[in-house]
């Protein structure tokens, strides 16, 4: 498998540090697999090697498709029997008709996407529900790192130097809630992951990673939200 692509090697996968259950499954993946109803139609934007999508296909018989920019990861996902679009998530999304999917996943992808608002709105156009997971900059470690050392945080869940990070947005759990609210998106479920397990108390301080499930809220299509 390795070395199949002639293209330059992709950036390291950002989510390798997320806590896992005894079966070795990432807790954010387990939450999403539990969430999704059997037979759902799922679009995974930034599907990587297709680990999550494959779990959804195997355990929930979803009709899934992924979008991935790195050629090597596309080959890995195809090897798992998945359907994948090799390209940017923006172009991977915009060609779908409305309401094509039950779930659109932005698993550890949002913090790397340029057009955040357009992307999330388009995701809620093609999908009934949007699942977003991201590393939480509000966790106490990055806060302490910045406060005590005076340097941009490099922590367990945010392992990149400022000059070498795939994350172009730094956001916290609180930031995301405010953002979703301002966009007219309703948080249906949320799930927070600490170093070793779920962190539902004081998530903005204790969660290294957050997962939000969103739907269009009341007034979502009002003109105030409809444009960027």
């Amino acid at each position: 498998m390795m070395g199949l692509s002639n293209a330059p090697a992709p950036a390291p996968y950002p989510a390798d540090t997320i806590a896992r259950n005894p079966h070795g499954e990432r807790l954010d993946h387990v939450f999403i697999v539990d969430l999704v109803e059997p037979g759902s139609r799922v679009l995974d934007l930034g599907c990587g090697r297709g680990t999550l999508l494959k779990m959804l296909v195997d355990k929930k018989q979803v009709r899934g498709t992924g979008v991935e920019i790195a050629e090597e990861r596309v080959y890995a996902a195809v090897e798992k029997g998945l359907s994948v679009y090799h390209g940017d998530i923006d172009e991977g999304l915009s060609d779908y008709p409305d309401a094509m999917f039950d779930y659109v996943l932005l698993s550890q992808t949002l913090q790397q996407a340029r057009q955040t608002v357009l992307l999330m709105r388009d995701a809620l156009r093609v999908g009934h529900r949007l699942v977003v997971s991201f590393p939480n900059f509000g966790h106490w470690r990055p806060r302490l790192h910045l406060l005590l050392r005076g340097r941009a945080p490099v922590t367990h869940s945010l392992p990149y130097e400022w000059y070498d990070t795939p994350n172009i947005h730094s956001l916290t759990v609180k930031d995301f809630r405010l953002f979703a609210d301002a966009q007219g998106m309703r948080v249906v479920r949320s799930f927070f992951i600490g170093r070793t397990g779920e962190a539902h108390v004081w998530p903005n301080l204790r969660a290294e990673h957050a997962v939000f499930v969103l739907e269009a809220g009341v007034g979502y299509n009002d003109p105030i939200h409809a444009g960027p």
Partner: protein, 389 residues
Amino acid sequence: MSDYHIEGQQFESSIGFVETQSVEFSSLPLDSGLTLAPVTIAYETYGTLNSDRSNAVLLLHALSGDAHAAGYHPGDAKPGWWDMMIGPGRAFDTDKYFMICSNVIGGCSGSSGPGSVDPATGREYGLRFPVVTVPDMVRAQKLLLDHVGIDRLLTVSGGSMGGMQALQWVTGYPEMVSSCIPIATTHRHSPMQIAFNEVGRQAIMKDPNWRGGDYYGQTPPDSGLAVARMIGHVTYLSDESMQDKFGRRLRDKEVLGYDFTLDFEVESYLKHQGEVFTRRFDANTYLYITKALDYFDLANGRGTLVEAFGDVAPETRFLSIAFSSDWLYPPYQSKEIVRGLKGNGLDCTYVDIHSSFGHDAFLVETDQQTHVISHFLDVTARRLRARSA
């Protein structure tokens, strides 16, 4: 496509000797309103058709290809045009699937074409051969499949013009096709593609030996055909692949000649490619096939591309492959195809394979294509079995 001989290719690992077969049909109605009668189709098959006839794969050739996709004809130094992709353990695995490949009508390698004898006159058709289209080619292949007894195709696949035929198949006979693998292709020829083809056609028709197409039995328009091949060949390469292969190296000389004999290696290479091509290809066929390419527009008369794919069965799977350095059929054209499929909610995988080989990559980059095609076909066959069980 170019005549590639892959380094290290062994006869032992190939499917061995194969034979071209031939079948004649009484007539074929054409898009032009004319009828071709009779119609001969040359074809080859590899592998074994299974008992429920569910493992048939139709392979479709490009401009200069033929029915001989894999294996060797006795006495040949080189195997068929997609040999590295066809055989035991290869992308189109002869241990699992039954492959069929035919020469297109209008061709010059066994199927009816302008060099065939017109029964009405007893002479070669020349330009009296009717203009054929990609849909006409596909209708001829349908006659062949009916003859062989195949009513269901696991997949249809080909590169370049082969990809156009694959798209034509899945839209023309949606009930027959389980999956489609269009490679380095387009849903309609662009002005640039038409322009290159017209330069090639003009080179042939301006050759005094062309004689309005009636050159059979006389000196053929080889210099015109060679020039057509040279321009075509340039479009199959890339700036990078030519840099790598030739640089500015001189041919058989230490210094520039200051004359108009060959100076550069790349000139000599193109001249050789042109000459070799005239030994195996008919100039009139070059006119007919390039015309069919230029006429190709999948959505023609069917509205948008999304509407053109509207009749495709919802469970049909697609694998679209493009190559990063292909400037003749650039990746954006494959993405347009994918856009049309997505608009119908169809299951599609798209891969843009990083390659420096230009359009020729579909004949050369066999590792990546083998990886994606073999996994894609495994899943397609498994789903088909699950549905019929």
